[in-house]
């Protein structure tokens, strides 16, 4: 958590308040010229050299492995500054002060020495000087009186930051056990003291995620009569939204998709949609599922959709074609390599089942299983991802009815399948029955495919699926 401090050097202590403390180079230049008036350092705050503290086990040097901050960053006490390594031990160095990082004394992979400066931190001047040694309280000001106590003749040692924390929480320093050198009270001692009060373990870092639940005895219910008198007054507070826009470059796979989709949009798409009654297919699949299971294959609806599409493509081969760049030639592809859109962590990938025209429904199912497990493991090979000629996208597994799919070049057609819904329909006798309805949305390249062709293909595909027995007649 970085706390940005408004820099205003209006403190009486500094003689240099003549100058506006704006932190840019021009301010520095200005003050250099006015040497006569300058009596102390140019910057508003005091620069403290934060030394690398003792690692333990007699270690004197470590290698700097990672910086978590850079020059100019704001840090708070206990923020992580860097990671150093020494002989199989990785050490997180945290800041001792609140302030701004002014200098990093080492580059990555350099050797850093215990006891030598690691970073220079500029302490916020308005908070007062916070040197490495702790301040012993001199005659206190009135409001700090209760935080300074003499215990057994010893003055309590604590830095101003720690004292402020105690004061903010109405804690008497005398009641806190100090664990630092000479029993000085550290920030974690205050936090531990608070933790003991609430009965929860409070982690020292302000970044901690856990919010320990307060035991019930802590919440003191208001007396009923008080409640009756109080009328809640809505306080209008300005709504503050501190979120920031985040820009990041498009890389790798997404960059490639940008190229592909831009090319796809150049294709004049037309759409054709229809609804399919899958009631019979649902029943058929229920019967065949256990048989496939015995053979070790999970049988979904896709193998049927894919096989039916291939049978349709035999009658309408133009849908399994490719148009060359100059739009001069059409290539009718012999293989039906039907792509199946898969949603993975990376995004949309489309592996394809090769040569569906010579595969049985079971073989297609088996191949789909293989592609799906490779896909979820992120291990699909180039062969599985190239050579597709026609694509089906089962967006219905996520949801939706009708869609407007985008053709994947160099193909000329694509179908998007919605989810299967149970809907009332009329049968031949005029009776209402429960039907399993799925919507299909086709898109095709209007440069070489006309509406009639798409419609006829769709009808054929639909008829195979609505009456699965008819597939038997045309199976090769």
């Amino acid at each position: 958590v970085c706390i940005h401090r408004v820099r205003s050097c209006s403190s009486i202590r500094f003689i240099k308040s003549k100058y506006v403390c704006v932190f840019d180079k021009s301010a520095l230049k200005f003050s250099h010229q006015q040497r006569l008036f300058r009596t102390s350092a140019v910057s508003c705050g005091q620069i403290v050299q934060f030394k690398l503290s003792d690692i333990g086990e007699g270690i004197t040097e470590v290698t700097v492995k990672e910086w978590y901050i850079k020059e100019g960053d704001s840090v708070s006490q206990f923020d992580s500054i860097c990671e150093v390594q020494s002989d199989k031990a990785s050490v997180t160095i945290t800041s001792r002060y609140d302030g701004i990082i002014r200098k990093l004394h080492y580059n990555l992979d350099e050797i850093a020495y215990v006891g030598k400066p690691l970073v220079d931190i500029e302490i916020d001047s308005s908070k007062g000087v916070a040197p490495e040694e702790d301040v012993v309280e001199t005659p206190p000001m009135s409001h700090e009186e209760h935080t300074h106590q003499e215990i057994k003749g010893h003055k309590t040692l604590a830095t101003p930051a720690v004292r402020r924390l105690a004061m903010e929480n109405n804690i008497k320093l005398s009641e806190v056990v100090g664990t630092g050198k000479d029993n000085r009270i550290l920030k974690e001692d205050i936090l531990n003291y608070l933790a003991k009060q609430t009965g929860a373990i409070l982690p020292p870092s302000p970044k901690a995620e856990i919010i320990p639940p307060l035991p019930k005895s802590e919440t003191v219910p208001a007396a009923p009569k008080d409640k009756a008198r109080k009328i809640p007054v809505p306080v209008s507070r300005p709504i503050v939204f501190s979120g920031k826009d985040k820009t990041e470059p498009i890389t790798g796979f997404h960059k490639a998709m940008v190229k592909t989709m831009s090319a796809a949009l150049k294709i004049p798409h037309f759409g054709y949609c229809d609804e399919i009654d899958l009631t019979q297919l649902v029943q058929l699949r229920e019967e065949l599922k256990p048989l496939a299971q015995i053979r070790g294959v999970k049988l979904s609806f896709m193998p049927f959709f894919i096989k039916a599409a291939s049978l349709g493509l035999l009658q309408y081969p133009i849908l399994n074609a490719s148009l060359d760049e100059s739009c001069q030639n059409v290539t009718y592809k012999a293989s039906h390599n039907i792509g199946v859109a898969m949603d993975t962590e990376q995004g949309l990938i489309v592996p394809n089942v090769k040569n569906v025209q010579v595969c049985s429904v079971f073989e297609i199912a088996s191949e789909l299983n293989r592609l799906q497990s490779l896909g979820s493991a992120g291990q699909l090979g180039t062969n599985d991802l190239t050579g597709g000629t026609f694509t089906l996208s089962n967006i219905g597994t996520i949801g939706g009815t009708y869609a407007k799919p985008v053709i994947l070049p160099p193909e000329v057609a694509i179908g998007a399948l919605g989810k299967i819904q149970v809907l009332p329909r009329f049968n031949g006798k005029g009776e209402v029955f429960k039907a399993q309805i799925m919507n299909v949305s086709w898109s095709a390249d209007h440069r070489i495919i006309d509406g009639a062709t798409m419609a006829r293909f769709s009808n054929l595909w639909k008829s195979y699926l609505e009456n699965p027995a008819s597939m038997l007649l045309d199976l090769k």
């Binding site: 390594q85 199989k88 990785s90 992979d109 933790a195 901690a208 919010i211 960059k255 990938i349 090979g381």
Partner: protein, 373 residues
């Protein structure tokens, strides 16, 4: 304290899982021995993180016992490409994890036990911990020739490494963990810890290879359970605490609030691969195409696991130069990852001229590039 009472609840559940050890430890401060019921490397590493970040170790020390299903664990500042055979890991479905402590790469499976000693920062003492382990082993089997080296390894018969060590120091707390080979698969161990990747140059911490041996080979009557019990017993004796082990479920948010986020973070690509210190790949390979052999030279700079700079030297005109530069442009900024490169390359192919010859050359080049990752 909240932690204790929650563990108590967890305990009532775990009574069903593993009796008779599943009895709540001492309520007094001093020490605690806990054992994970999970074999998931990420969950167990997350428990370490959780204890390090959230537990008050001021007046108590904790011993954490855990075992993992097959996994390779690299140190905080290491390069996985340099340390292990990533291809083999993917094939065998062996997990890859990066821990937060320093040190080298190790292979874990259920024949290996892991011990983590949690102490306040000031009481960080690795030698003491390892001597404790050696003492426990000798108490169990007095004839075992085991000793601690000054590199914090434990050697068997003065030459075989049976334990490696690593540590993490924070502001107020520290932990030292080590492995112990009881009955791990040495064959898999040696094959996964051998990197096939050539031409890597980096400042990442290198591992020091060592000959290993299982304690089981020395004495077939030993099991992991016996080792865990012996070490717990010795720890309890030395810290004067109850020797009973508390079982802990690393997926239980009520006992360890926030643990699932830690587990997730340890599994992200950005942590496992993205935290690799900057490195470069300068290598060449031969491609056999039809009747000729082609030399390809590849130079890449990888930072945060992503390709910062990429250069591919191909024989002239073997692929259209425009296509080559398209590939290089796409690779720049993308993850140094075979899956990313595969999907990238195959997607780009869609907008190339539809020429079978071109496609097969492209695929050949891409397959070879992928082999580097």
């Amino acid at each position: 304290m909240v932690l204790q009472s929650s563990l108590k609840n967890c305990l009532q559940l775990s009574c069903i899982l593993r009796t008779p050890k599943a009895v709540f430890g001492s309520t007094t401060s001093g020490g605690l021995i806990i054992q994970s019921i999970s074999n998931d490397v990420y969950q167990n590493l997350a428990v370490e993180d959780w204890i390090h970040d959230h537990m008050n170790l001021e007046n108590r020390q904790v011993l954490f016992l855990w075992r993992n299903s097959p996994a390779v664990v690299i140190g905080r500042h290491q390069n996985p490409w340099q340390e292990c055979n990533l291809r083999l890991l993917r094939q065998k479905n062996i997990r890859l994890a990066r821990r937060r402590s320093g040190g080298g790469t190790v292979y874990h499976d259920l024949g290996n036990i892991n011990l983590t000693f949690f102490t306040p920062r000031k009481k960080y003492e690795r030698m003491e911990n390892l001597k404790l382990v050696v003492k426990a082993l000798k108490a169990l089997r007095p004839q075992l020739d085991v000793r601690v080296t000054d590199r914090y390894d434990i050697l068997l018969d003065r030459q075989y490494k049976i334990s490696g060590t690593a540590a993490k120091l924070g502001r107020t707390a520290a932990y030292h963990h080590c492995t112990l080979l009881c009955n791990a698969d040495k064959f898999v161990l040696s094959s996964v810890l051998k990197s096939p990747y050539k031409g890597l140059k980096s400042n990442a911490t290198p591992s020091v290879p060592a000959s290993v041996k299982n304690l089981f080979e020395e004495d077939p009557s030993l099991t992991c359970e016996m080792l865990l019990d012996a070490i717990a017993e010795e720890y309890a004796t030395q810290h004067q605490i109850d020797h009973r082990i508390t079982l802990i479920n690393p997926a239980d948010e009520t006992v360890l609030p926030g643990i699932n986020n830690k587990t997730k973070e340890l599994q992200t690509w950005d942590w496992v691969y993205g935290k690799t210190p900057k490195f470069s790949v300068n290598t060449c390979f031969n491609m056999v195409y039809k009747d000729s052999v082609l030399d390809v030279k590849v130079d890449m700079d990888v930072k945060h696991g992503r390709i910062e700079v990429c250069n591919i030297d191909l024989p002239e005109q073997w692929l259209p130069p425009a296509l080559c530069s398209e590939l290089v442009k796409s690779l720049t900024g993308s993850k140094f990852c075979p899956n990313e490169t595969t999907t990238l390359a195959t997607t780009l192919l869609r907008v190339c001229p539809q020429d079978d010859e071109l496609h097969s050359r492209w695929n050949l080049l891409c397959e070879n590039m992928i082999m580097l990752m």
